[in-house]
């Protein structure tokens, strides 16, 4: 028995080490700095990087990546040839951004992905699903074992009783007897009834207060857009796409032309990327083969499903919170950068708003708006909460 346990433990460790090794720094660097212009197997703005280590010399590559315009100016033939080939669009300068070690890591990643081993995230996902199934199986097993245990113990008890010449009773007999006895006990009946009422009230209360509360709401979107890949893996700032969050009451769903800033060139992804990116092209009328917009195309606007729905009677302004209040998006929207499919993180109830307004500090010293303002509150305590400047008043959100 002990041996078997040891083997299990060993296998588990092995598995975790394996996972750790797969966590490739080169991949993330590649995605962060290169992927917007280069594909591994496809041409984007820049050339495909497959077999790049065979075509060019390592030192040349270091120099080129760090400062390509300098190489072109110095008259390097290879450099000029690439520059001419790609319509004289220069590559970004990475001097000071990427160290030689970083570049080496990226190149190693490119070499390794040449041989077609990728999609680690896919494997990871199925693994998770298996884990889920396993835990359910485990539960069922446990229930069965305990049932068996009760049965055996009962049998043992009865055997012992018969040995002791006592009156034996089966489980159903026992249950019947006890319930008969309890049903005559008024106190018990009263308590049960009370408990029942309390439970019902409790359930009704929670049921009622959750009417119209849709946290964890996770509708299927017309395009399987993954915030995890964009905001998480590739580290794109929220404000890049949702830039109106700083200026307006709406954070805004980015218009398709914002997608096209990158997806003019990036037209394939790891899982369903090709299909899903194709949906943008279909909406806006872009031909990915010739890389041109189709003229007189009848565009098909994308109908996203709105997840965060505040009722019309409440006024909420993103810029007030993001720009003035300097809140992080995640405060209300949760760890969006880890979500493949976005769900509503907060319950968006008034209680939730108010709780935050009671505890959240105002950017009091930083913003000149508050100059000579609310001096009394300022003297009272160092912290000025939203509440102190009237953040709990009805008319601040309801008009």
């Amino acid at each position: 028995m002990k041996h078997i346990l040891n083997i299990f433990l060993f296998l588990f460790f092995l598995h975790s080490i394996n996972l750790h090794a797969e966590d490739n720094q080169g991949e993330s660097l590649f995605k962060q700095h290169c992927a917007s212009c280069h594909g591994i197997n496809t041409k984007l703005i820049g050339p495909a990087l497959k077999d790049i280590h065979l075509k060019y010399d390592r030192d040349w590559l270091y120099n080129w990546i760090k400062n390509s315009p300098a190489m072109i100016n110095s008259g390097d033939e290879q450099a000029i040839a690439i520059y001419e080939e790609y319509n004289k669009s220069p590559m970004n300068v990475f001097e000071g951004i990427l160290s030689t070690e970083d570049i080496e890591k990226i190149l190693l990643y490119v070499e390794s992905s040449d041989s077609g081993q990728n999609n680690s995230s896919l494997g990871h996902q199925t693994g998770e699903e298996e884990n889920d199934n396993k835990s359910i199986m485990f539960l069922i097993m446990m229930i069965m074992i305990f049932g068996l245990l009760i049965f055996i113990l009962d049998n043992v008890k009865n055997t012992l009783k018969s040995v002791a010449k006592e009156e034996t009773e089966t489980i159903p007999q026992f249950l019947y007897k006890t319930s008969l006895m309890l049903s005559k006990n008024k106190k018990f009946l009263f308590m049960t009834f009370l408990l029942f009422i309390v439970l019902i009230t409790n359930a009704a209360w929670h049921g009622m207060s959750s009417v119209g509360v849709y946290d964890k709401y996770q509708p299927e979107q017309p395009i399987k857009f993954s915030h995890k890949i964009h905001a998480g893996d590739n580290g794109i700032d929220c404000n890049y796409c949702h830039h109106t969050a700083r200026e307006s009451k709406h954070a805004g769903i980015p218009s398709a032309n914002v997608c096209m800033n990158c997806h003019t060139f990036i037209n394939e992804g790891s899982i369903d990327g090709d299909k899903e990116i194709g949906k943008i092209y279909e909406a806006i009328g872009f031909d990915p083969v010739s890389r041109t917009y189709i003229e007189n195309y009848k565009t098909k606007p994308i109908k996203w499903i709105r997840i965060h729905n505040l009722p019309d009677l409440a006024y909420f302004n993103h810029s007030q919170h993001v720009n003035v209040g300097k809140l992080e998006c995640q405060t209300c929207h949760g760890p969006v950068e880890t979500m493949d499919e976005v769900y509503q993180f907060s319950d968006l109830t008034m209680g939730w708003c108010i709780d935050c307004h009671r505890t959240q500090d105002v950017q009091y010293d930083e913003n000149k708006y508050y100059e000579n303002h609310l001096t009394k509150i300022n003297n009272k305590s160092k912290h000025v909460h939203v509440e102190d400047i009237g953040g709990l008043e009805c008319g601040k959100c309801h008009y």
Binding site: T244, G252, W304, I305, K368, E393, C394, Y399
Partner: protein, 1020 residues
């Protein structure tokens, strides 16, 4: 003795038993039950229904609603969803003119505001603001119609391909249009005339200023309207000209109001008129005359002044005000160069004489700006009459009608029908079908002004641009493009306009984009105007009396806020109460009380607490107009009745049709005065008015505080003495007595609104602005009749009474017991307006009391006070007890008796997919059962604060513009933060004239008023 209050004049007059009955008629309960035979729902049925509806409601409420969110595919650079964009453009429909700012949200226009930067001609009155809704009118024509072949929905290409008239034929093609001042359109027409010599343009104004235009042409050599500069006038005499109301449709009120400051050489305004107009009610002294007496007033005035200047006198007749006219003439001479005399008349001779009078008084180039006359009206009665005759003679091949609705506003419909039949092809360019449409061959939908490019030259030297703020909603074309196509020019009008401006109007250094951004351009190139002054005084003397004969009972036609009736289908305008009569959704025959008594006509308060009026027919020769309700108007001439234009439309749309009667029937030869009228009482059940104010006077209370200029000069607190109350510690000022703990306003903002009653003319632009900004629903006539109007802001009107508190007391304390009038009679007399009452206007909105009576009685705390002095109203918290409205001393809270949105019983713009686009997305649309009221446009306050925070600065004075204040071009309203010591409103609050409404109640409002001061010097 118990006090007794009367509701109306009628009530005081007779002790009719009907008045003491609580219900007019027995409530026909049996009938109701009869109508619903199965009135016997069993208990089981009831339970079934309750059960079913509860389950249904629960199930539906639990469902997660799926809301789609559709972003732009390619977002326009200037649009940020959630933020408003403003565009400067020009409103110019031939009746009104203004340089305006359009507020758009996500590309749809939601508000029209004055463009203050234009410095001139920016007054967006109620009509101009409401014109927004005509964009979203579901009655708009969606595509061209060929009525000849009964072919609906032809395309514009079809129309031009099969153009059924020949422009180059030797018969005429006439472009009949409402007035416009567009230089580029004029250029297109010039080209058309060059190419087709038989092309002609005729201007038609439904309410004509032809006489004045001709007179100006004769005196100053250009056919234009005079540009009066009231800001330079110390002494104003108006003879029937309602210059603050509809006369010339030009923003005179700003200049006028700037001279109504008692601290700074206040002007004096004398008004002669027959009906009670907006200008008359603002006058310092008002004289009642018949319309035919205008001549004698002017000639007498002229003669006295001519005599003193040694000029030739003219024929005159004595009139009842000769003694007063002498005084006025003397004062006119004293204020030489600083006065204005104006007269409303379609008679050229009278206008000539009036200009001559102003010349003698040295007003030319001082108070009348001759160098910058107004071109906003072009109508020519003679040319139009000639056109009609030519049409009858068959000389017209084709007629293109632009925005003219002849079959509504031309008096002789028979002649029109005959002459229309003689024209080969008639094309109508219009926003929507109207009364004229059945008589034309083609109806072409025209772009709304918010969908069009354009320009205008409203006054000499000023040019404005019009730009589209939304793509055309339907298959429509703008007039200019239509004419360019006729001309065979392939250019579109936008490019044409741009190149025309660059060539002809802009200086080479001026940037087109800048002008487009500003919306206006002042050019140094001006028409040079020389005073002609070749008035033949003998000719005038002979002819001036020709058209004016005193013929018994006279009829005066006038325009109110509905103007010429073009916008009758806009429910906002219909529901805006007339500033004087406080009645909406109607026009009526205004008559004086004496005349009504003589004719046996009555207005009475019916048992449902509203006004009922007798119905009459007016007749003169062959002309007859029936079913006109009678409205008894204090201060009306006894020998005159008056009726307003703009009503009685039959093909305008769901809101405008069959409201009132069409007064244009009597607008014979474009003369608004008519003598020899006969009034016949119709024996029908009385007309039901929808009046929002039935009280006439203030009943001796200090609601509007008043003083004369003389009193004010002596004592700055005249009429506004501090209100003290008895307390156990002796007399105390109301500000020092309170049951309540006071709010702490030492920090942050304290928003206040100042309303200067001297500057408020009562025009109602603020009411409309508030209506539009805050998604206030339109409730319709029957609801208004139940006093369920929803206006957040109302303008109360009070008449003065001959009986005052002081007078009654002095009579009662008199030694002579015969004079004792007693309490009942005192109040009875105080309720009655004088024969010629003084009028005051008072805008009243939520006063945002610091000790708010509404807040203390709300059982659910739905209305509460903010740190910034605002009285908040949380609609979603309100359960509709209406305690707050009952406890409000100012009666400014409005209750939503129904869902006014998506409700067929309220079939106005909110029951209409297109009409709903006008709603302000920042303001909740209220549901049934909640209370609402003025919020001080809290959405604008919050926005200004947020903008300041975003820009890392303090809120500046003037950052917050609330809708009413922004619409008020006279500057009567000033909004701001009184805690900001440099703000305008802070200064206003310190002023001696400022007071709180009903201060003795102790509510301590954040709205304050400034005493009304009248300049009665020398004339009272």
């Amino acid at each position: 003795m118990k006090k007794k209050y009367w509701k109306s004049i009628e009530q005081t007059k007779n002790n009719n038993l009907e008045l003491h009955k609580e219900f007019a008629d027995k409530i026909p309960i049996e009938k109701i039950i009869d109508n619903k035979n199965n009135f016997t729902a069993s208990r089981r049925d009831f339970l079934k229904l309750v059960g079913f509806s509860t389950v249904a409601a629960t199930i539906t409420s639990c469902e997660t609603p799926i809301t789609e969110s559709v972003p732009y595919l390619v977002k326009p650079e200037e649009i940020t969803p959630g933020n408003a964009n403003y565009y400067a453009t020009t409103f110019d429909d031939g009746y009104d003119f203004a340089s305006v700012l359009i507020k758009t949200r996500e590309g749809r226009p939601i508000k029209i505001d004055p463009n203050y930067e234009a410095r001139s001609l920016y007054d967006a009155n109620s009509r101009i603001q409401s014109s927004l809704l005509s964009l979203y009118d579901s009655y708009r024509l969606k595509s061209p119609v060929n009525q000849k072949s009964k072919e609906l929905n032809i395309s514009l290409e079809d129309y031009f391909r099969n153009l059924n008239f020949d422009l180059s034929s030797n018969k005429k093609t006439v472009f009949l249009t409402s007035s416009f001042t567009s230089p580029s359109l004029n250029n297109i027409i010039k080209d058309l005339k060059l190419k087709y010599p038989n092309f002609e343009i005729i201007f038609y104004d439904p309410i004509s200023y032809s006489g004045l235009l001709d007179s100006y042409d004769e005196m100053f050599g250009v056919r234009a309207l005079p540009n009066y500069r009231f800001e330079k006038a110390d002494f104003i005499i108006s003879i029937g000209a309602d210059f603050l109301g509809e006369w010339l449709n030009f923003d005179h009120s700003e200049g006028y109001a700037s001279k109504r400051d008692p601290d700074n050489k206040m002007s004096q305004h004398i008004h002669f008129e027959s009906n009670m107009s907006l200008s008359g009610s603002n006058a310092d002294k008002r004289y009642i005359i018949k319309p035919s007496e205008k001549v004698s007033v002017l000639t007498n005035l002229y003669n006295i002044i001519a005599k003193s200047f040694g000029e030739k006198q003219i024929n005159s007749q004595s009139c009842k005000y000769d003694a007063e006219i002498k005084l006025l003439a003397a004062k006119l001479i004293r204020s030489k160069g600083k006065s204005i005399v104006l007269i409303d008349s379609s008679d050229k001779n009278l206008q000539n004489l009036c200009f001559k009078l102003n010349m003698l008084l040295g007003n030319i180039n001082k108070t009348i700006n001759i160098a910058e006359p107004l071109f906003i009206k072009k109508g020519d009665d003679n040319k139009f009459n000639i056109l009609l005759n030519e049409m009858l003679e068959g000389k017209v091949e084709s007629l293109i009608i632009n925005d003219v609705n002849l079959f509504y506003n031309f008096y002789d419909q028979n002649k029109l029908k005959k002459s229309f039949k003689k024209v080969n092809v008639i094309t109508q360019l219009t926003l929507k079908e109207n009364e004229t449409s059945p008589f034309v061959n083609y109806i072409i939908p025209k772009n709304h002004f918010l969908e069009s490019w354009g320009d205008s030259n409203p006054k000499n030297g000023m040019y404005t641009l019009r730009q589209p703020v939304i793509n055309p909603l339907f298959d429509s074309i703008q007039v200019e493009d239509f004419l360019l196509k006729l001309l065979g020019n392939s250019k579109n009008y936008k490019d044409y306009l741009k190149s025309f401006w660059k060539k002809s109007i802009l200086q080479s250094t001026t940037n087109w984009n800048q002008v487009l951004h500003d919306g206006f351009y002042f050019s140094k190139q001006k028409l040079i105007i020389n005073i002609k002054n070749n008035l033949d005084i003998n000719y005038t003397s002979k002819n001036i009396w020709l058209n004016h004969s005193d013929g018994g009972l006279e009829l005066l036609l006038f325009a109110n806020h509905l103007g010429d009736g073009k916008m009758a289908n806009i429910p906002w305008l219909q529901e805006l109460p007339d500033p004087i009569n406080r009645t909406c959704w109607d026009n009526y025959l205004c008559i004086s009380k004496n005349l009504a008594d003589n004719l046996g006509l009555k207005n009475k308060i019916s048992a449902d607490g509203q006004l009922d009026g007798d119905i009459v027919t007016i007749k003169s020769g062959k002309l007859e107009l029936s079913n006109i309700p009678v409205f008894i108007q204090p201060g009306h001439s006894d020998d005159t009745v008056s009726l307003s234009f703009g009503y009685g439309r039959t093909k305008s749309g769901k809101s405008g049709d069959n409201v009132g009667v069409n007064a244009f029937i009597f607008y014979k030869n474009f003369i608004s005065e008519y003598s020899g009228i006969e009034i016949i009482k119709q024996e029908t059940s009385p007309h039901k008015f929808a009046s929002v104010q039935l009280a006439h006077t203030m009943m001796g209370r200090d609601i509007v505080k008043e003083a004369t200029l003389k009193e004010y000069k002596k004592d700055k607190f005249a009429g506004n003495h501090p209100e003290n109350l008895h307390t156990p510690e002796g007399m105390k000022h109301v500000e020092n007595i309170s049951l309540w703990k006071q709010h702490d306003y030492n920090d942050g903002h304290l928003w206040n609104l100042a309303i200067d009653l001297n500057k408020c003319t009562g025009c109602g632009a603020c009411v409309t602005a508030c209506h539009i900004e805050n998604n206030v629903p339109v409730v319709g006539k029957s609801e208004i009749r139940k006093h369920r109007d929803m206006h957040w802001l109302r303008i109360d009107r009070y008449y003065s009474s001959d009986m005052t508190m002081e007078k009654a007391e002095s009579l009662n304390e008199d030694d002579n017991p015969n004079n004792d009038i007693g309490l009942v009679k005192k109040y009875k007399l105080m309720e009655e307006p004088s024969q010629n009452p003084e009028v005051v206007f008072q805008p009243v909105m939520c006063q945002h009391c610091n000790n708010a009576p509404c807040e203390t009685v709300c059982p659910v705390a739905a209305t509460s006070h903010s740190k910034e002095g605002l009285n908040h109203m949380a609609y979603n918290r309100c359960v509709g007890t209406r305690y707050c409205a009952n406890n409000c001393p100012y009666k400014v809270r409005r209750f939503n008796w129904f869902n006014y949105k998506d409700n067929d019983d309220f079939d106005f713009n909110m029951n209409d997919d297109l009409g709903k686009l006008v709603l302000n997305p920042d303001v909740t649309v209220r549901a049934r059962g909640v209370m609402e009221k003025c919020s001080f446009c809290i959405q604008n306050i919050q926005k200004a604060k947020l903008d300041a925070k975003k820009e890392n600065r303090k809120v500046k004075d003037g950052d917050v513009k609330i809708a009413c204040e922004n619409a008020c071009t006279t500057g009567a309203m000033v909004f701001g933060d009184v805690n900001d010591k440099s703000s305008k409103v802070h200064k206003e609050k310190q002023h001696e004239r400022s007071y709180n409404l009903l201060a003795s109640v102790g509510t301590r409002p954040n709205v304050f008023y400034k005493t009304k001061i009248r300049n009665k010097k020398d004339v009272s």
